[in-house]
Subunit: 121 residues, 2 copies
Amino acid sequence: MKQIMINLDYQSRVPIYEQIVNNIEKYVALGILEARTQIPSIREMASNLGINPNTVKKSYDILESNGVITTISTKGTFIADDTKKATNDKIEKEINIIRDKINELTKMGIGYDEIIERIKK
Amino acid sequence: MKQIMINLDYQSRVPIYEQIVNNIEKYVALGILEARTQIPSIREMASNLGINPNTVKKSYDILESNGVITTISTKGTFIADDTKKATNDKIEKEINIIRDKINELTKMGIGYDEIIERIKK
DNA sequence: TTAATTGTACTAGTGCAAATAGTACAATCA
DNA sequence: TGATTGTACTATTTGCACTAGTACAATTAA
């Protein structure tokens, strides 16, 4: 059983359940959470975070549909056997967002190279 | 008086009033809305979009505090005399967001150059 | 065997912020 | 004079995230 440090921002417009999803997906992408690692149960995670189990359940449902975790009834919740696809999907999604943002900026009359330059600083 | 096409997404988690702000700031940055151009009154904009005038008022208040527009009581609402600073602020903000996102990706083990490469495609 | 833990499932209710509804006032302009 | 402008205010509604509470079956460990 691996404990997980989840960072929640209650001021954020991003819902708690989604912040949990993002945190765990990030740890998986970072290699901090490895395949088949058992993560805290819904109840334990909820208790750790001081939130309702239903909120965690919602996060775990999404993570499962994203292929990040596998839940085995009465056993517990585990990082999926193969997380490569899920990780690549997440990265792909991020890159698309960045590309869109850069394209927006180029429309505002800033050259592509200038944008890259300014990002580096 | 210049008519403005505002794109609203009611499914978005971004509030309507903020979407209006973003739309107008973008048009200013794109040069579609030029300095001193009169834009629709609060009531007219609300009517066009089928929303409450108070919502538009909130957007215009924010735009004014961002230096994008100037409101003259009983006269109307106009794009500010000088929009350069507001535009630069917006661009600066966008670049910072992009930089943060790229930094996140590098932590996941993707090289900086590879990210730039993938963005280009 | 028994008690604790697991995931699952469901309904009802709370809380907050966005958005609406409605009204009123003063200044300006055609 | 009547229409339009921005401004200002309060009350209400709505939608969604989140909470609260309960229940059940399967598994595990003492």
